[in-house]
């Protein structure tokens, strides 16, 4: 984004509230553990899983390297099949295009499915400003929308809510006096409500899991079938997709249709896999638009190391195994892309001058669990560290910009100097050892001042012993 980013809260600031919410932690912990275990089982069934991951990585990496060519090919194929292609440089442009299209149809409601990309650009709000209501039809998205909440997971946007909470919400918003909290009953209530909407909808808006350059085919995979309604019942269908969603050939589906469902919902295959190519007379939408969204993606593409971030197929496996996400939930990331993938994608899309976004690469212990499960082998820890490097470089360039980073910056510099010379290093050890005398009690430090108090608030610290290893070694040698 070219405009100066607004201040968004940092991960640390936001995480606090969620860490204290035990109900939320229990909801998320339970849900992620369930999906995590299921995923492992269905992945273990596949003897060629590693080969599939390699293939997924290879196709995506190749595509990113030739993205310009594949996008032009996609444009041509879509047009040939009777669809129209629109290019959007940023969120504003995309919203203008889409609201323009919807307004042209003279409707005040559009049904919408499966699109985090539209959340990324704030489409619902842009439509609302024009008096058009965008109705979420994915069950979880609907829950979040009715609650006036934000999604907290890529795939299970209402992961932070439990059944009882959903029942209360439906009773109120869908005017149900009696409703049990059985999943079937909740789903039925939503279904009855949505059916009416589908039958009257003139415009459908969808996201895309993939778009094939070779054929112009767009694909959405889902569990409920609502997406299929959205993409088939309205006269006009508008698909919004990030430019990274393109894949070269039809046969590439073979790889992704195996990798995606197993990694995301831990299913062997998604219950509904919808593919549509342009328009067909007398069948389905008679007008089809694809909006190809950049919104920072070409910038990501330009960074050789960060580029792999665009290989993501949004399966959310990394969220479900992330120990940080598990504790804080998705909202702490202040982005539609939470969890490990969000921690690398958001700062790259928004720019590292956004304070909130720049805090995200630090929201990880670098434990590597995300890399281990990623179906397209994105080395998330590597990218995290790479981005940390860019953040620090940026801060240094701007003269130590953020004052709270300054002590760290100075400390790191001093330590680097000390470590580069063993004599200086040994002197520093001695200084630290005598300096700690103020805080140590019988070999234990329970309270440290300033920045380091964050350690001792919950943990004791072992004091530096009287003899370092090297002092012992020297003595032994004598």
């Amino acid at each position: 984004m070219s405009k100066k980013a607004e201040h968004t809260p940092t991960f640390e600031e936001s995480a606090k509230a969620y860490l204290d919410n035990t109900q939320l932690r229990r909801n998320i912990g339970h849900a992620t553990h369930t999906i995590r275990d299921k995923r492992e089982n269905v992945v273990d069934e596949m003897p060629d899983w590693e080969a599939l991951r390699e293939a997924g990585d290879a196709i995506k990496t190749h595509t990113m390297r030739h993205l310009d060519e594949y996008l032009l090919q996609l444009e041509e194929s879509v047009q040939e099949a009777g669809g129209q292609v629109h290019w959007a440089r940023d969120a504003e442009e995309a919203n203008q295009i889409i609201t323009g299209l919807v307004k042209g149809k003279k409707v005040n409601e559009a049904v919408k499915v499966k699109s985090i990309t539209t959340d990324e650009i704030g489409l619902n709000k842009a439509l609302a400003e024009e008096g058009i209501q965008a109705l979420e039809t994915d069950l979880a998205e609907l829950i979040v929308q009715l609650a006036g909440d934000e999604p907290s997971h890529i795939l299970v946007p209402a992961i932070h809510k439990n059944r009882a909470e959903i029942r209360e919400l439906f009773k109120e918003k869908l005017n149900k006096d009696e409703l049990s909290d059985r999943p079937e009953d909740l789903a039925e209530a939503a279904r009855l409500y949505l059916r009416k909407k589908f039958l009257n909808a003139k415009v459908g808006i969808s996201g895309a899991n993939f778009a094939v350059a070779e054929t112009g085919t767009v694909a959405v995979v889902e569990s409920e079938g609502n997406g299929r309604m959205c993409t088939t019942l309205p006269d006009t269908l508008i698909t919004v997709m990030g430019i990274e969603k393109v894949i070269p050939r039809w046969r590439d589906f073979e790889v992704f249709m195996q990798l995606l469902p197993r990694s995301s919902t831990a299913e062997r295959m998604n219950p509904y896999n919808s593919f549509w190519t342009g328009v067909t007379e007398g069948d389905g939408p008679q007008e089809f638009h694809v909006v190809l969204l950049d919104n920072g993606r070409t910038k990501v593409l330009a960074d050789e190391m960060g580029r792999q971030t665009l290989n993501c197929i949004r399966c959310s496996a990394c969220l479900n195994v992330c120990p940080v996400y598990e504790r804080t939930g998705g909202h702490a990331y202040n982005s539609v892309y939470p969890g490990p993938i969000g921690a690398i994608l958001t700062p790259q899309l928004k720019g590292l001058d956004d304070e909130g976004a720049a805090s995200l690469p630090y929201a990880s212990t670098l434990c590597g669990a995300c890399y281990e499960v990623c179906p397209v082998k994105i080395n998330i820890p590597d990218v995290l560290v790479h981005l940390r490097g860019k953040i620090v470089d940026e801060q240094k360039r701007n003269g130590g910009l953020k004052s709270k980073f300054e002590p760290e910056h100075i400390g790191m510099k001093l330590l680097s100097r000390a470590f580069a010379n063993s004599k200086r290093y040994e002197r520093a050890q001695k200084v630290a050892r005598s300096g700690q005398k103020l805080f140590a009690d019988e070999g234990v430090i329970s309270k440290l001042p300033g920045y380091l108090s964050k350690w001792t608030n919950t943990r004791d610290l072992k004091a530096i012993p009287d003899q370092t290893f090297r002092e012992w070694w020297r003595q032994r040698d004598e």
Binding site: M412, Q467, W473
Partner: protein, 242 residues
């Protein structure tokens, strides 16, 4: 074999007993150990926190100190991971082909202790005696970066008197993560809380691992709770005798 000890700044300063245990253990197994006095720090903290420029002199230093060594062995999976995974990247950043060449040549000779014992020396029974109930926490870097697999567990199984109790959810990160423990202290503590619950549920007297950094975090939490469970580095258990 002639083994060069890479004790790491963290162990040198805070956990000298781990280094001493390594000396004892490797000598007992019949090897000659040396400790190149010029060594300081591998630069992991700098690198991981984003101070990659500051890591360059530390990498040069490390290479100077250990260049000629036959085997370089450290009691820290994360520092070994730093050398193996990231030194080539630092050399790239320094745009120094000579350094990159030296790093490439050195990497296959850098080992984490348990992996060195089991995979390089082919030893699983180091003749230790440690009559305690012990649970093992596989640290993330030993598990996912170095792929040490069950090397530590094999070694522990052969320690006489030791009762090894499996740690539930053992592969979950303890929440240390270097500067993460301070930058995101609350989240770190929440992760630590679950780790401690699992450790306590085993009824073990001792929790061990291949990294003193994670153990410092876990041990600091356990001590604050006066839990009575101690944290002890794997090297110290393996060095113990009757």
């Amino acid at each position: 074999m002639q083994i060069s000890l890479f004790i790491t700044c963290f162990n040198d300063t805070l956990f000298p007993e781990t280094g001493r245990a390594m000396v004892q253990l490797l000598e007992r197994l019949g090897h000659t150990v040396t400790f190149p006095m010029e060594q300081t720090c591998c630069g992991q903290m700098h690198y991981n926190t984003g101070y990659q420029e500051e890591t360059i002199p530390l990498v040069r230093k490390f290479v100077d100190v250990f260049e000629g060594a036959e085997a370089i062995v450290a009691p820290s999976a994360s520092c070994v991971g730093m050398v193996k995974e990231f030194y080539p990247k630092v050399a790239d950043r320094a745009d120094d082909k000579v350094l990159a060449g030296k790093v490439d040549k050195m990497i296959p000779r850098v080992f984490e202790l348990s992996q060195f014992l089991v995979e390089e020396l082919g030893v699983e029974d180091v003749g230790a005696y440690y009559p305690h109930r012990v649970t093992y926490h596989p640290t993330c870097h030993s598990l996912r970066m170095l792929d040490v697999g069950d090397a530590p567990v094999r070694l522990l199984r052969n320690v006489r008197g030791l009762e090894l109790i499996e740690l539930p959810d053992s592969e979950q990160c303890c929440g240390f993560g270097g500067t993460f423990a301070v930058k995101n202290a609350e989240t770190s503590t929440a992760m630590l809380g679950d780790k401690m619950c699992n450790i306590k549920s085993t009824g073990a007297e001792v929790c061990t691992a291949a990294d003193n950094s994670c153990l410092m975090h876990i041990g600091g939490g356990l001590q604050r709770q006066s839990s009575g469970v101690e944290t002890v580095h794997l090297a110290e258990i393996l060095a113990s005798t009757e």
